[in-house]
């Protein structure tokens, strides 16, 4: 069966662009802190979600709604309402991370398909099967800390579908288990749906030398003409001992396009593209590329050469943890 391409949509225009470009599935979120891309100007109100889902369904595509932050104590109703509205809007599944919310959805919305968000960081077959057995999760988005061999090992021990990231931003830390951002800015992926938020970013351009600060910490400096990465904490430039550099990760983005055949052999069901914060032109371009790749694979043709370098962060690519030497 052809591998499913799961594409990001930060706006209704991106959703339409992704579907038109050949996405099998689109994922998106409501415009509040229930989703992990709670960025200014992004996401869907209820009416937009309903219309977006109708558009996708008319074109034979599915829509998944990410409700993948961790509900705030005393305020769980906002998250419960998001799950209920996802169901009434006609979503094909919700993507959840929080134990309490999974339990709530399993008990009160048993007919709504549940996927496990990468934010839950289920990194082995025991954890994957635990979520499936306990909350009826049908698909798990695997964290970006695993090698292709480890993904194959997980699939050998579970009936749950697996989805893996193949393109876009790359977390080097186990997702959903990182408080770097809230330590430096007070806002975190888990609680607020943002990481290294733009509201705490300052750029300072001094005769072409560009400094980037996050929460007052200078974590990037590039010379004139060099690519300017966004100051995400784990990709910042630091010093320790006698070393200075990108101690955690270089400002690269993930591109596992050439590993698609291996991921298929490893039993992966769906390929996920990161980037709900990116433009509709980016989404359409990346979707078209990956759709061509999986169609070629299905037809027994070689993988098309990648053309996506220019869209990437810092304009350098990595296959990340999928190759074991990354560690």
């Amino acid at each position: 069966m052809v591998m499913e391409i799961v594409c990001p949509a930060g706006t209704p225009a991106s959703l339409r662009a992704a579907v038109t470009a050949g996405a099998h599935t689109v994922y998106c979120g409501f415009a509040d802190e229930t989703n992990a891309r709670n960025f200014p100007g992004l996401n869907f109100d209820r009416a937009e979600m309903r219309e977006g889902i109708a558009f996708a369904h008319d074109h034979g595509a599915k829509v998944l709604i990410a409700i993948n932050t961790f509900p705030r104590a005393g305020d769980e109703a906002l998250w419960h309402r998001a799950v209920a509205d996802a169901e009434s809007c006609g979503a094909d599944a919700v993507i959840l991370a929080d134990l309490g919310l999974l339990d709530h959805a399993a008990r009160h919305h048993s007919g709504l398909r549940r996927h496990l968000s990468v934010q839950a960081a289920a990194a082995n077959a025991d954890a994957v099967n635990f979520y499936a057995d306990t909350f009826g999760v049908k698909r798990v988005v695997l964290p970006r800390v695993l090698s292709v061999q480890e993904i194959a090992a997980i699939n050998a021990e579970t009936d749950v579908e697996t989805e893996v990231f193949v393109y876009g931003g790359l977390c080097v830390m186990a997702e959903g288990r990182c408080s770097l951002s809230s330590y430096a800015t007070g806002l975190s992926p888990n609680m607020n749906g943002v990481c290294s938020p733009a509201s705490h970013v300052e750029y300072h351009d001094d005769k072409g030398v560009l400094d980037a600060r996050l929460g007052g910490y200078t974590i990037h400096r590039v010379q004139k003409g060099e690519p300017a990465p966004y100051p995400t904490l784990c990709k910042g430039c630091f010093s320790a001992g006698d070393k200075t550099g990108h101690l955690f990760e270089d400002p690269v983005s993930l591109n596992a396009e050439q590993l698609i055949p291996q991921l298929q052999k490893a039993g992966v069901t769906a390929l996920k593209i990161e980037g709900r914060q990116r433009s509709r032109s980016y989404v359409a371009q990346v979707v078209r590329n990956f759709r061509a790749a999986v169609d070629a694979l299905e037809a027994g043709l070689p993988m098309p050469e990648g053309m996506l370098a220019r869209l990437s962060e810092g304009q350098a690519m990595t296959t990340g943890a999928y190759k074991k030497t990354w560690r």
Partner: protein, 301 residues
């Protein structure tokens, strides 16, 4: 309020490890969680010392638990998670993989690296057998209070990160190895040289983080000394102190005196500053705009 000593996050020699837990037998703390949290490759160096340490601590009247790893990916790590259950002491779950190995209804505790952010999650964990939950350090005081109330209703003791460098992130990649140009599989135990983590500075030389193998910690030591009354009022049942290589017995004593009302927070922070004048303190996750913020005065004596 009880004092819990969390699992040592760093890589210490087996002898240093043993003497640390021997000393703890006499420390004014109630509960000790030990075992390997961060990296399974460290475990063979002191694994055989664990049973004796457990015996000593139990003999001294301490409540003892064993932690799971924080991130389980390898087959032998999964096996390890399964074996914890048979060790005869309570398991502190720091990765839900360990939960998958616990028999339904068996009591367990939950560590700060499991995402417990709301009442629904506490309630589900209590139903599964959780008796004590140390909350994630990034939670603000308002959430702590709500969760402590929920815990009380469910018979779950709620614990809060009280002192020590904050565990901010865990990865599949080893940063110590990467810095030395090695892969994780051939790390040559580079993290052993930094018994409290390796300081990570910004481009302007500002201390910011600490590197500890696959783990990233805060530069600052969290210190809840100024929030004790608020935490107690909220119904928090225990304060967690995280091991450090220097002056930890002093730190245990200081927090005990603080909880007993024998000294005030200023006294505690002054004394912490005397252990190491370069210690920077933070309590921003509880009360500040961001985690690194500090509500007290500078920790210099």
């Amino acid at each position: 309020m009880e004092l819990t000593v969390g699992p040592n996050q760093f890589f210490w020699s087996a002898d240093a490890w043993t003497s640390f837990y021997q000393d703890l037998a006499a420390a004014p703390v109630d509960r000790i969680v030990l075992g390997e949290l961060v990296c399974s490759k460290r475990l063979p160096f002191y694994q055989d010392r664990i049973p004796d340490a457990i015996t000593t601590l139990l003999g001294a009247g301490k409540d003892v638990a064993l932690t799971s790893l924080a991130l389980v990916t390898l087959k032998r790590e999964r096996k390890l998670a399964g074996e914890l259950v048979g060790m005869g002491v309570e398991v502190e779950v720091n990765d839900l993989t360990a939960l998958a190995h616990l028999p339904q209804g068996a009591p367990f505790s939950v560590g700060p690296l499991v995402n417990v952010y709301n009442e629904g999650t506490i309630s589900w964990l209590a139903g599964r057998g959780a008796t004590r939950i140390c909350l994630p350090p990034e939670l603000p005081l308002a959430s702590v209070a709500t969760l402590a109330r929920a815990g009380a209703d469910l018979g779950v003791i709620v614990e809060v990160w009280g002192h020590g460098r904050l565990p901010l992130a865990i990865s599949g990649r080893c940063y110590h190895a990467r810095m030395h140009g090695r892969t994780k599989d051939n790390c040559q135990f580079a993290c052993e040289d930094d018994p409290d983590g390796l300081d990570v500075l910004t481009l302007e030389g500002q201390p910011f983080l600490a590197m500890n193998g696959v783990q990233t910690l805060s530069d600052s030591h969290a210190c809840a000394a100024y929030q004790i009354d608020a935490l107690r009022d909220a119904g928090v049942g225990a304060l967690r102190l995280s091991p450090q290589s220097r002056g930890f017995d002093t730190i245990c004593g200081l927090y005990r005196q603080l909880l007993d009302g024998d000294v005030d927070a200023d006294h505690v922070t002054d004394a912490i500053g005397r252990i190491d004048p370069n210690t920077r303190l933070s309590d921003g996750f509880l009360t500040g705009a961001r985690g690194v913020d500090w509500s007290g005065k500078a920790a210099h004596p």
